[in-house]
Amino acid sequence: MAINKINSCRGQGYACLVRGFTAGALAVFAGLANAAWELNLQMPVTALARRVYDLHTLLTWVIFIIFVGVFAVVTWSIIFHRKSRGHKAADFHDNTTVEIVWTIVPTLVLIAIAFPATSALVEMRDSSQPDLTIKATGYQWKWGYEYVTGDAAGVKFMSVMSTPREQIDNKTPKGEHYLLEVDHPLVVPVGKKVRVLLTATDVIHNWSVPAFAVKTDAVPGFLRDTWFRAEKEGTYRGQCSELCGKDHGFMPVVVEVVSAEKYATWVAQQKAAMAAVTDDPTKVWKMDELMARGEKVYTANCAACHQPNGAGLPPAFPALDGSKITKGPKAGHLDIVLKGKPGTAMAAFGAQLSDTDIAAVVAYERNAWSNKLGELIQPAEVKALRGK
């Protein structure tokens, strides 16, 4: 394309050549960039994010002007005051006026940029009087959401990345939202102030949505908060932004901003679904039922480390296939699943999964692969162990 342009410029002069080159270069860049050739921050969708965006633009201009000013003087001095041009070095010792000027000017610049920066920061920290509060918990490697106040109070779910393993392993083409899609996104109403309480169970995570200019660490043992008021419906995507171990790159944050009506429908659906999902704790499960349920729970919660084939990634993530724990007494097996193992990535799933899920997944682990123990585990057994 660039070559065509240049050829068509014959006899038309320099300006046409420059245009041709520019168009050609742009075409090459457009071809290189997969999805979009984006250099700037994401388009803001909250008033606060707009402030952050404008602040960033302002500071970039300040930096640009200072950069050009300083380097213009340096370049001019190098070219026009060199020895070969007969320039003599000045030999004065000091100049009080200049020293005062180069102290006062940067001070004024600093104050000028500190004002908008500090006021944006103060607004960012003001999470008071929210319309609804959501608690987000960082796990290795997924997010757990719990609606604390508002219409959806009590709704809680896990938000796990839904990009298929085959795409990550380059076996199938990548989807549009590769690594930025989850099974259950966080759903919030448009125009409402949403306060997000943040904590983590294992290591430090970070909940970040660039379009909201929100990025806050989730620290185990601490409760921190941030907030946003989205002005436009849509799906906004971010990623865990604090290195949290092996699958740090695979725990995206997805927030769906919907209208008030859609939100009400979603809340009703969630509540109905939660009521329906509640299993009968006294039900006696058969082997094939347990295995089917257990495989689902295993894939969602265990397979990232212990691998779908149970071989693990030793020594950090031990194998379950043929291991001492999965082939040993079932009390020990249930205990490690319920309470986790301190000092390792093995989480205490007692807080995350129901009795039925734990019974199913432990039964699955004891009967899958080469572990054919033929043992059934019932939710009632898990419940009995929980108290201890």
């Binding site: 990550i168 185990p220 290195l243 092996k246 740090h248």
Partner: protein, 177 residues
């Protein structure tokens, strides 16, 4: 005449090195000459730059296109962590110290650095620390994969590679005192 000049030159050379210094590797292990020590720092820094640079090549090769290409995520994290620690503590800092050793005595007109033997000891703390850091890649569980900040509680999940990295950073820190 020529013979005289040669003798004078030889005599001058002998006076310069005091004539009875150790030779071979002991010359470098026992040297108190700020230029020798500066040179060792600079070579050490260059070797570490190549090691850390090779790790960044692994990182960049993996990131060249989306999806997993060459390395597993946990190994990627280890490359990231060691690259940072090696570049900061093994390449950049020793390079500055090397230049300082070479230049400062010349610039201020001093015959050598103050505490010349300690200056030598400072350098010789570096190789064991560098060996600890790089060897941590080969222990069970691999090297630390926490990023160079080594934040707990993630650091607690690492294997003995983490302990080796912590010890190495302590030694590197002692060297810089």
């Amino acid at each position: 005449m020529q013979a005289n000049q040669h003798a004078a030159h030889a005599g001058h050379h002998a006076a310069d090195s005091h004539g009875h210094g150790p030779t071979g590797i002991m010359r470098w292990i026992t040297t108190t000459n700020h230029k020798d020590i500066g040179t060792m720092y600079l070579w050490f820094s260059f070797v570490m730059f190549l090691v850390g640079g090779a790790m960044s090549l692994v990182i960049r090769a993996e990131l060249m296109s989306p999806g997993l290409q060459y390395v597993a995520p946990e190994f990627y994290n280890q490359m990231l962590t060691l690259h940072a620690l090696i570049m900061v503590f093994g390449a950049i800092m020793p390079a500055f110290v090397g230049f300082a050793n070479w230049m400062i005595p010349l610039m201020i007109g001093a015959p050598d650095m103050a505490f010349a033997r300690m200056n030598n000891w400072s350098f010789w703390l570096l190789p064991p620390a560098a060996i600890l850091l790089t060897a941590s890649l080969f222990v069970p569980g691999g090297a630390a994969g926490t990023g160079w900040t080594l934040y707990p509680p993630l650091s607690v999940q690492m294997g003995m590679g983490m302990d080796m990295a912590i010890f190495a950073v302590h030694i590197l820190g002692m060297s810089s005192i």
